[in-house]
């Protein structure tokens, strides 16, 4: 077959036939012919696909074919063109080329193609053709036959794959013929279907997110309740392990730790796997790691005779793999196991031996161990011991210079001595008490003779470490007590008390300060302190000192003949406010003073050197709800400060009589004020003042009375002449003074005096008995009633009425009664008035207005309203109102115009109509016959009023 004739083309078609023999000579002819061949195109043989193998798991097709190279000269370039298509869609998926050299041998070529969708999804077909030397060969070049890959079976593909986050994945649902894919979902979301063939559909998921622990479900739902599914695991490739570190704690196992970095999002069999490879020895171990822990640990056995280890930590998961490496010298990475079985032994008062065990083989290194020593009295101390290591052995260390009879606590930790890496954990703590030792010196003693001098009291300081016994009192002991021993006050200093004294030259063997631990009397708990003779001051400190407690110190000087009491000192470590205030009582009270007395306070209550008392007082009842005097910020609060401690009473002066006072007494020290003690005192009544306060006014009144009586008696004639003359002087008569100030706005004297006024208009009206519609409104009726005779003498004549006219009132349109304007009396002006109101008046009413205006005197201000309302009057009412006769000009309605809704209510009170406008008052006083208008209102009017009263009542 390899010797089949073939054709050569050289521009013009040109045939060369090579025999089989010439083929064998090819190497030699090739060198000759090759340059020549390069200018030729060979007619390629139709290639034949040897095999087409699908790898479903990797979506890969592997194509194999032979190049038939034996049939061609050596070294020809061969190009292969491969075409792949998916059958049902007849979609040309790809057409790719592949180049090779022909080597005069039949070579089988293999070519892989990775599909972007599972191969199960649909059938794939592959064919191939080739060119020799030239790709633009336009001669005859045949394709091979299609080679198919026909998947079988149905389901959802790919099955159980793992991909990296962000990948694009195509899923296809392959089903039986005749079924229909209804929908396909990825996770909870449906994706648009891509139809691949009659029995397969696909969805394409782009940029897949990390899946949940159990993977993301892809479900294909088909007709007839068919369902298929698969699970996709989307995660991350492993991170490069960080902080890889290896150490040994016992030279048996090397423990390597690292941080895994980002979680892969894959679990179980797909989770990240670690293996530790030691490249020097070539050993490797796979690591069982706990996925839940942040830090991973893997153990590697220590190899004999190997000190340097080169570790490579391989990390892999289905998505990828990575590694980290570390080179360690094991001797420099020793973190010994925690020491255990710590014991302490010793039969000395100052030294002990410690023993402990370390579970490890440290024979080749030295260990450095640290012993922590702590006792109740002193601070912790660390003691380092270096020692050769052993194989699983016990280590011993000796500690010296300990205190006798002291309880110590020990614990140990170790590390490598030469190359420190890390301390082990501390061992458990072990306690040990050192043995007792003989005392280094005798006890500190003090002796006191009893007051009677017959017995001697011996004190010594207790040292619990020492056992004591009194054998005998050998030394001679004398205490001299001078008569004039003075007492000083000591100064608090820090938590002690500062005491100083003068230097006494004859005190040769020092000083002793002695004190009691209670301020009470004997027997007390005595303590003392010795000082050398060159000392002149000291700060006495004791854990037993308490603030607010007075301590008495005695300073003794020591001389050869005995001790001498030099002085007494009292002091506090800290002064506190007194516990309470002194008890105090009110000794006596008067109307303006209170005498207060108080008692001495016991020293225990003072809690400091008493500096004085503070008495505060203010007016105040005994009321539990009221704030305390001192807290209230009372402005009347007065405070008296008593610094003279010998004073035990105080008189408070300048108080008010019969007043309750609250008194608060406080004592104070440098530490502050005590809580107050309160008293309530009521001062006595000031009787003298009261009597005087009553007597003086009475006396003054009596005196005035007497003086007045005398005066009246003496001037009785004059008085009678002045106030009650037999014949009254007309000039003195008030009744004739109405002409005065009539136009000056004097309210009390508004009469109808014309002269001083400038008349605006004067209206002379003839009263017509047939003015039927006047009493329409209250205003109207009042107008008709206000018939004012010009001279004021004849109130009964209704024929002529002179009306004063006050222009401002008109301008105000009825809103206000004529209060201030003087009533002018002048010519008739109804033309003006009418013209003024004409626009508001209906033509039919004009005649009636005339009637109204002629009805008698009326305040002009009311005209328009009355004109408007005339019509609504019933004749009966008009009649009755006509007979009503005189009414005060001041219309009650007029000043009630603000409330136009309630005319009747005002009208009903026509007895009171005289109140209000000064004009009306005037007219009543002077123009009406007495009693006529007030006492006998016309009955008809009253009736009208009542109806209105009832009508308007609801409006109120």
């Amino acid at each position: 077959m390899s010797c089949l004739p073939y054709f050569l083309y050289f521009k013009i078609i040109f045939l060369v036939i090579l025999s089989r023999a010439s083929c064998e000579l090819l190497p030699c002819c090739a060198s000759v012919l090759l340059p020549l061949f390069s200018h030729f195109s060979f007619v390629p043989l139709t290639p034949r696909i040897l095999s087409l193998t699908p790898d479903f798991s990797t979506f890969t097709l592997t194509l194999k074919w032979s190049d038939n190279g034996s049939a061609f000269p050596y070294g020809l370039d061969a190009s292969w063109e491969i075409e792949i298509l998916r059958k049902e869609t007849m979609e040309d998926v790809t057409r790719e080329s592949y180049n090779s050299k022909l080597t005069h041998e039949d070579i089988i070529h293999s070519w892989n193609w990775k599909s972007d969708m599972p191969l199960e999804c649909t059938s794939h077909y592959v064919r191939i053709r080739h060119y020799i030397n030239i790709t633009q060969f336009d001669g005859h070049k045949d394709w091979s036959d299609w080679s198919p890959v026909e998947p079988s079976g149905s389901g959802l593909f790919p099955q159980d794959t793992v991909v990296a986050v962000g990948s694009n994945v195509t899923f296809c649902c392959v089903h039986e013929e005749g079924r229909q894919v209804q929908r396909m979902s990825y996770g909870a979301k449906d994706y648009p279907l891509i139809r691949l063939s009659s029995r397969s559909s696909a969805i394409r998921v782009l940029n897949a997110n990390a899946s949940d622990a159990s993977g993301t479900n892809i479900v294909c739902r088909m007709s007839e309740n068919g369902m298929d599914g698969t699970v996709l695991f989307v995660g991350y490739g492993p991170d490069v392990p960080e902080d890889l570190s290896c150490e040994t704690s016992n030279f048996v196992i090397i423990k390597c730790t690292w941080k895994p970095g980002r979680a892969s999002g894959l679990y179980g069999v797909r989770g990240t796997k670690y293996s530790l490879i030691e490249s020097i020895s070539g050993k490797n171990v796979s690591c069982e790691v706990n996925e839940m822990k942040k830090e991973r640990i893997c153990g590697f056995p220590v190899l004999a005779d190997q000190k340097t280890y080169s570790f490579v930590l391989g990390v892999s998961n289905p998505i990828g793999q990575t590694e980290a490496s570390l080179l360690v010298d094991l001797n420099q990475r020793v973190n010994p196991e925690t020491p255990e079985k710590l014991t302490v032994s010793g039969n000395s008062s100052t030294s002990v031996r410690l023993h402990w065990f370390i579970n490890g083989s440290f024979a080749e290194i030295r260990l450095l161990c640290q012993i922590e020593i702590s006792s109740g009295h002193s601070e912790q101390k660390l003691h380092n011991v270096s020692m050769p290591g052993g194989k699983f052995s016990t280590y011993t260390a000796q500690l010296n210079a300990l205190h006798p009879y002291t309880k110590y606590r020990f614990r140990v930790r170790c590390s490598a001595a030469d190359h420190f890496w890390r301390w082990s954990d501390w061992s458990g703590t072990e306690e040990h008490t050192t043995l007792e030792a003989p005392p280094a010196r005798g006890p500190d003693i003090w002796r006191e003779r009893s007051p009677s001098g017959k017995s001697l009291r011996i004190f010594w300081k207790v040292d619990r470490k020492l056992k004591m016994s009194v054998w005998s009192l050998m030394d001679f002991f004398v205490v001299f007590v001078a008569d004039n021993v003075k007492t000083d006050r000591a100064v608090a200093m820090g938590n002690g008390i500062y005491i100083s004294w003068n230097s006494y030259p004859n005190m040769t063997c020092g000083y002793i300060v002695k004190w009691c631990h209670s301020s009470g009397s004997e027997p007390c708990s005595v303590d003392w302190q010795k000082f050398p003779s060159n000392t002149t001051d000291a700060v006495i400190k004791s854990a037993l000192f308490r603030p607010g407690v007075r301590y008495n110190f005695s300073l003794y000087g020591c001389k050869s003949s005995g001790y001498q009491l030099l002085k007494n000192i009292t002091g506090y470590t800290k002064e506190l406010p007194p516990k309470r205030a002194p008890n105090f009582t009110v000794e006596e009270t008067s109307s303006d003073s209170i005498l207060v007395k108080w008692e001495d306070m016991p020293i225990e209550d003072c809690q400091g050197f008493l500096e004085g008392y503070r008495l505060s007082f203010a007016k105040g009842e005994k009321d539990a709800l009221k704030p305390r005097l001192l807290e209230s910020g009372n402005p009347e609060l007065k405070v008296k400060n008593i610094t003279d401690l010998t004073k035990k009473s105080l008189k408070i002066l300048d108080l008010q009589g019969k007043t309750s006072y609250q008194l608060d007494l406080q004592a104070y020290t440098a530490g502050g004020l005590s809580p107050p003690n309160s008293l309530y005192v009521v001062t006595k009544e000031d009787s003298v003042g009261l009597i005087i306060a009553i007597l003086i006014p009475v006396a003054v009144v009596v005196l005035l009375g007497v003086v007045a009586s005398i005066f009246c008696y003496r001037k009785r004639e004059w008085i009678k002449e002045t106030f009650y003359p037999e014949i009254p002087n007309p000039e003195n008569s008030k009744a004739l003074q109405f002409q005065k100030n009539i136009c000056e706005g004097n309210k009390s004297l508004k009469t109808l005096e014309m002269n001083p006024c400038t008349p605006n208009s004067v209206e002379v009206v003839e009263t017509q008995s047939a003015a039927p519609k006047i009493e329409d409104t209250e205003m109207m009726s009042s107008k008709t009633d206000t018939i004012v005779p010009e001279d004021g003498s004849d109130s009964e004549t209704e024929n002529h009425v002179v009306v004063s006219y006050c222009p401002p009132i008109i301008e105000e349109e009825i809103s206000n009664p004529p209060m201030d304007e003087p009533v002018g009396l002048s010519q008739v002006v109804y033309i003006d008035i009418q013209s003024m109101y004409q626009p508001q008046i209906k033509p039919e009413e004009e005649s009636e207005i005339d009637l109204v205006t002629t009805a008698g005197y009326k305040p002009q201000m009311q005209l328009p309203v009355s004109a408007l309302k005339i019509e609504s009057r019933s004749p009966a009412e008009e009649e009755s109102d006509k007979t009503a006769g005189y009414r005060p000009q001041a219309n009650t309605n007029a000043w009630n115009m603000d409330t136009p809704d309630s005319p009747g209510s005002v009208e009903s009170n026509n007895e009171n109509a005289s109140f209000g406008s000064p004009c009306s008052i005037n007219s009543r006083q002077f123009l009406l016959p007495p009693k006529d208008d007030e006492d006998s209102p016309k009955p008809s009017n009253t009736g009208w009023s009542f109806t209105h009263f009832f009508q308007n009542k609801p409006n109120d």
């Binding site: 622990a213 159990s214 993301t216 892809i218 599914g229």
Partner: protein, 224 residues
């Protein structure tokens, strides 16, 4: 079935008679008298507790399986593989027609096998918390199996032989893919739920049947 029922009643009557005659024996104590009734009550209580426990467990587990398994209307076709899980979908009339013994035995067998599958779940679960809860549920279910055995023995029924004892199938054959495994899990939980629901009914009925007899026995015993 009828024969068996008669048998069981016979045994029961025999037991009753025996107990009636026993009061003279001073060693007899109250707890033994109450054995059957009490253990049925306890089994009933345990079943209800497991029902409750399964509700929360199933919720969590189905969420772990992810959509669509946790969708309320998810109702997949029951694949052939799932048939390995003992199905509780027996016709109710048929089920009621069985004798107490047969029903108890069926319960016992079913729970033994369900337990076996459930333990298979345990190892695969990715999250520790869920593994914990599954473990807890397994021990409760183990308790139920023992409890049913107790009821059966107290009523004098023999324990079903063979598959009931130590689980005969050594775990289910591994599912061919992860999705089918999830389907198996889904069906397992579903069947468990149905079984527990039906068992609760069974024990309730049994409880009503048994205790009165025991009470009368006790009264008679006191009468002596």
């Amino acid at each position: 079935c009828a024969l068996r029922a008669r048998d069981s009643w016979g045994i029961f009557a025999f037991l009753c008679a025996a107990l009636c005659n026993l009061p003279a024996v001073p060693a007899l104590n109250g707890t033994e008298e109450l054995g059957a009734g009490q253990s049925i009550q306890k089994t009933y209580d345990l079943t209800r507790y497991l029902e409750h426990q399964l509700r929360t467990l199933a919720g969590t587990y189905l969420n772990y399986l992810g959509p669509p398994f946790n969708e309320p209307d998810f109702n997949p076709p029951r694949l052939a593989r799932a048939e390995q899980v003992p199905s509780a979908t027996v016709d109710l009339d048929l089920w009621r027609g069985l004798t107490d013994n047969a029903r108890l035995a069926a319960n016992y067998r079913a729970y033994s096998r369900l337990l076996c599958y459930l333990r298979g779940l345990d190892g695969q679960v990715g999250t520790v918390e869920l593994r914990h809860r599954l473990g807890h549920f397994c021990s409760s279910l183990q308790g139920l199996v023992l409890s049913i055995a107790g009821v059966m023995s107290s009523l004098g029924y023999p324990l079903p032989a063979g598959p009931a004892g130590p689980p005969a199938p050594p775990g289910a054959p591994a599912a061919p893919n992860d999705f089918l495994k999830k389907m198996d899990d889904f069906w397992l939980l579903k069947e468990l739920q149905t079984w527990l629901w039906r068992s609760a009914k069974d024990f309730n009925r049994l409880k009503k049947k048994v205790p009165p007899a025991v009470v009368t026995l006790r009264m008679e015993a006191r009468g002596f």
